[in-house]
């Protein structure tokens, strides 16, 4: 394997990192603006998008030529599974970049903001490719550090406070995770997932306790990224305090990254369904899923702030995806693709919801849900998109969220475990609970009388992104087959043949 091959294997990540460097340099070289004539952010946006296009193109190249396999002594792999998440991350980053142009105009740290978005996307792409504990840790921490800074990027009080909260809980989670890695390494003698897999396949019953301890601790690190109970504590506060565009990025990209690496570690490293410990981690994810759904949904019931509500909603949705992980462990063939399909639709849904909240709240000057009264009259398009996304989060047809939940639940039942049927029963009851707060919000927007009658609309780029999100929510709700197939194909590459 020559140098080019190595570069080629991590091409998308390199493109994103280089892009970040270019954006930062351009930011330094560009003339400073003054109070009358603030500096335009347009060149930076263009450069950011260019980097994303290059990375996306590179990923497409991989997808078309079918290059796959390990590189860097097996520390990373390039496969369809990684590509699925790389595409998801690039799309998310591009959408957030475009949608936040208006917001970023008033930002001091424009260059840093765009560069950090690119670094976050790049490190998460690397994370999706990670096949070695060390690399996974480095990629995960890079992501985390970038996100701490992003949350505090406006340097306002709330934002900085949220950044600190995020940092502290993140540091604890990372500490637990590395402790878990130590257990895994100590037990199996390997840091590469293939090595761990080989050890687990042998089924050494004496290793059960340390292995179990190891993966419970590792889940702390991933669960933090996913905002899954019991590692969810930061979500409501950070969602409320952080800058909304950053949070919209965090809410989908971070979750996708967390689930990507969890899938790979547990499926590849711990051997999916059928090893002597798979039952243990199936039950662990089942418990976490139930706890997440209950905590998230019950917490969301009493929220009055739109962002805080979305924070709790994000916890609850992590529970839904975790059911998919439990199904993976229990040996359902639909488990991995269920997780991936759910995340794919979740990107469109949650980004749409956040963008709409961003655009509406900017105009009405409040994030309180009661101030959303009558938005449907004042801005039918924005309220319409938000309504659609909330319906999708609830899981009401014909939106993508409905099919996604159906697919994950079906995958869980297919695993053929009675207790998973019980978990699904709890999940569907939670859907009914969540309908209460999602639809109350819809009702406030549609039903109540607005405080003032003036109409408004979002800026051009924002409208384009909202339109795309709405289109995605409806398209994947009516024609889900292409995305399901893509998830299926990607999931198939996950199971690496053992030596």
């Amino acid at each position: 394997m020559n140098g080019w091959d190595l570069v080629h294997h991590i091409g998308p990540t390199i493109a994103l990192f280089v892009g970040a460097g270019v954006v930062l340099s351009a930011d330094m070289l560009m003339p400073r603006g003054d109070a009358q004539q603030p500096r335009s952010g347009a060149p930076l946006v263009m450069l950011t998008l260019l980097a994303l296009v290059v990375a996306g193109g590179w990923a497409l190249w991989h997808a078309n030529t079918g290059t796959s396999g390990p590189a860097f002594e097996g520390a990373i792999v390039m496969d369809r599974f990684a590509l699925f998440f790389i595409f998801l991350l690039i799309a998310t980053t591009a959408a957030v970049t475009v949608a936040s142009t208006e917001w970023a105009k008033d930002l001091d740290l424009k260059g840093e903001y765009y560069a950090l978005l690119l670094v976050a996307a790049g490190s998460m792409s690397l994370l999706a490719q990670g096949n070695d504990l060390i690399l996974i840790f480095v990629a995960l921490e890079t992501t985390s550090i970038v996100q701490y800074v992003l949350v505090g990027v406006t340097r306002k009080d709330r934002s900085a406070e949220a950044g600190i909260k995020y940092l502290i809980s993140g540091a604890v989670a990372a500490g637990l995770m590395i402790y878990g890695f130590a257990f895994l390494f100590g037990t199996t003698g390997a840091t590469s997932l293939d090595g761990i897999a080989a050890f687990v396949q042998d089924g050494n019953e004496a290793a059960r306790l340390p292995l179990t301890l190891g993966f419970v601790l590792v889940t702390a690190g991933f669960g933090f990224k996913m905002a899954m109970v019991p590692f969810h504590g930061w979500a409501p506060d950070v969602y409320q305090g952080g800058p909304t565009p950053v949070i919209s990025f965090l809410s989908v990209a971070s979750k996708a990254g967390g689930f990507a690496i969890a899938l790979r570690l547990f499926y590849n490293g711990l051997g999916g369904g059928g090893t002597f410990i798979s039952e243990d981690w199936a039950i662990m994810f089942g418990v976490f899923a139930v706890a997440s759904m209950l905590f998230g949904n019950l917490g969301a019931l009493v929220q009055t702030d739109a962002r805080r509500l979305l924070g709790y909603s994000s916890i609850a949705q992590a529970g839904n995806v975790a059911i998919g992980l439990a199904a993976v462990a229990a040996g359902s063939t639909l488990g991995p693709s269920g997780v991936m399909f759910f995340l794919g639709t979740y990107v469109a849904t949650n980004l749409g919801a956040f963008f709409a909240v961003m655009a509406i709240s900017e105009r009405i000057g409040s994030y309180e849900i009661k101030d959303y009264a009558g938005v449907m009259k004042r801005s039918p398009v924005l309220a319409g998109v938000l309504m659609l996304c909330l319906l999708s989060l609830t899981g009401i047809p014909p939106t993508a969220g409905f099919i996604a939940k159906l697919y994950v639940f079906n995958g869980a039942v297919q695993a053929g475990e009675e207790w998973l049927v019980a978990v699904v029963a709890i999940a569907v009851v939670n859907t009914a609970i969540s309908a209460f707060y999602y639809l109350s919000w819809v009702r406030t927007m549609v039903l109540e009388d607005p405080a003032e009658e003036t109409t408004f609309r979002a800026t051009g780029p924002m409208q384009a992104m909202l339109g795309l999100a709405a289109l995605g929510v409806l398209f994947f709700g009516l024609v889900p087959a292409p995305l399901i197939s893509a998830a299926q194909r990607a999931a198939e590459t996950l199971a690496v043949p053992l030596p």
Partner: protein, 490 residues
């Protein structure tokens, strides 16, 4: 053909939404045109339907979700049999009536009619779907329009009622989904026809649990005691057209679901639990009737009478014989027309008096003889007067259920006595008695859409009462395969 019926209203809903603000009123006409077209299609379906031919007819089918590699395949498959044909006809008819009685809606006209048409599509989907997942999709699709219609255009505690409706239905359907997924795993498919051919004998969780999980959704929807409390609230606070749809077709989704899915796919469990179902049914009939007697609000009164009448449906089903099942299916149709008409009349009275308090009304017959007369016809049909459609259905149900569940059937017959009580007493209090001076200014039904709405339903009620064979032929052909399952096992 069924696909056309399914999507015509949805197209109408989209068109209505696309109207510019200043021509909003035209939504009424769009809705009328599309619901009438759909009604015409439903008549064609009913006429084309051949009762002598076994199995489903006019099937439209393609694979909707086909990701390949053995993953989660969902069919789009719609078809007609003797069970769904009358309900499709009923839906077509009541949708036109619902649009007609909504002509006086003035607030957010285009959204109103869009939701009303979307509701028709959703219910049509439930009646036509022959795949469990597709069935569930339409079952859930019905929630949003109902929620919006009640909470936006309703009166009184409409928000509370809308949310209550939503939560009850969602909680019920939640378990239904689990049941469907387990059945799908056990049977290897979600297609109803295939599952009916070879009912799963064993599943991941005990089939009796699956039975109750699915049954719960249908019992909530029907509704029967103790899952009925959402119904009076939803009815009372909903606009007239929505009450018509709710009583007329939405409640039938429950009975239809039991007949279409539960009985054929889980026959042994249905047989095991038939006594429990009969007890619930008998109790519901009496309980509903007793509560109805105490109502002071005209609309609530009709709503509670529905609880009582839907008890007959469950009673007929619990008999698990061809006569009882036919009675239940027939009762679903006749209750749809009769209670639909009752709600139309209550709506017309309310529009004029602006009160539903029975005690405030008196001698309205003098002011509105036509409304009073039609109300009386509907009432008589509701209490089962021979010659009107209610009689045929109730008689068939009782005949079919008596052998299997004598006690519950006697309770049911006692319910008819109570029904005579509350109906006649109500008509007497509202329409007879000394004319009240404060109602002197009221007018009788005088607009064309009011005539059309009343007329079409009266014709349906009288026609089925005199020529029950219009429906029974179709219903018997739909019931026959289900009844055969139970005769074979008995």
């Amino acid at each position: 053909m069924p696909t056309l019926f399914l999507f015509l209203p949805a197209v109408g809903a989209l068109l209505s939404l696309m109207l510019p603000r200043h021509r909003e009123g035209d939504a009424r006409w769009i809705a009328l045109i599309f619901s009438t077209l759909a009604f015409a299609v439903s008549i064609v379906i009913f006429i084309w339907f051949d009762p002598d031919q076994a199995g489903y007819q006019m099937i439209d089918q393609f694979t909707w979700i086909n990701p390949g590699r053995g993953a989660f395949e969902v069919q789009y498959v719609v078809g007609i049999d003797g069970l769904s044909a009358p309900l499709v006809l009923l839906l077509g008819l009541l949708s036109v009536v619902a649009v007609l009685v909504s002509f006086s809606v003035e607030v957010r006209v285009k959204e109103y009619f869009a939701y009303l048409l979307l509701l028709e599509t959703a219910v049509a989907g439930v009646f036509l779907s022959l795949d469990l997942i597709q069935f569930f999709l339409f079952w859930e699709l019905e929630l949003l329009p109902m929620y919006m219609l009640i909470s936006l255009w309703g009166t009184g505690r409409n928000r509370y009622s809308a949310m209550k409706f939503l939560i009850y239905t969602l909680a019920g359907s939640a378990f239904m989904l689990v049941g469907f997924l387990v059945l799908g795993l056990a049977g290897g498919t979600f297609e109803i026809a295939v599952l009916t051919e070879a009912p799963p004998q064993d599943a991941l969780v005990p089939l009796s649990l699956v039975f109750w999980a699915i049954m719960l959704a249908f019992l909530v929807k029907l509704p029967v005691f103790p899952f009925h409390t959402w119904l009076p609230d939803a009815h009372t606070d909903a606009p007239t057209a929505v009450s018509v749809m709710l009583a007329g077709v939405l409640l039938k989704m429950g009975g239809y679901g039991i007949l279409r899915i539960v009985l054929p796919i889980l026959p042994d469990q249905a047989h095991d639990f038939r006594v429990i179902l009969a007890v619930i049914a008998g109790f519901s009939v009496i309980y509903g009737a007793v509560i109805t007697l105490q109502q002071r609000d005209l609309k609530r009164l009709v709503a509670y009478s529905s609880v009582s009448h839907m008890g007959y449906v469950l009673l007929g089903i619990a008999a698990l014989g061809s006569l009882g099942l036919s009675g239940a299916a027939l009762q679903m149709f006749t209750h749809g027309t009769i209670t639909g008409l009752l709600f139309v009349m209550v709506g017309l009275v309310y529009e004029r008096t602006h009160t539903r308090e029975i005690s405030e009304m008196s001698g309205l017959m003098h002011r509105m003889p036509l409304i009073g007369t039609v109300m009386l016809i509907a009432g008589l049909a509701s209490l089962g007067l021979p010659g009107l459609s209610g009689f045929v259905a109730e008689l068939t149900t009782f005949l079919g259920a008596f052998d299997a569940h004598p006690a519950a059937t006697i309770a049911g017959i006692f319910g008819v006595v109570l029904a005579a009580g509350y109906i006649l007493w109500t008509v007497e209090r509202v329409f007879h008695g000394p004319p009240d001076e404060k109602w002197a200014h009221l007018t009788d039904a005088n607009r064309w859409w009011e005539y059309a709405a009343m007329g079409s339903l009266v014709i349906a009620i009288v026609a089925v009462g005199i020529f029950p064979s219009l429906l029974t032929e179709s219903i018997e052909s739909g019931i026959e395969p289900i009844a055969r399952i139970f005769e074979a096992s008995a």
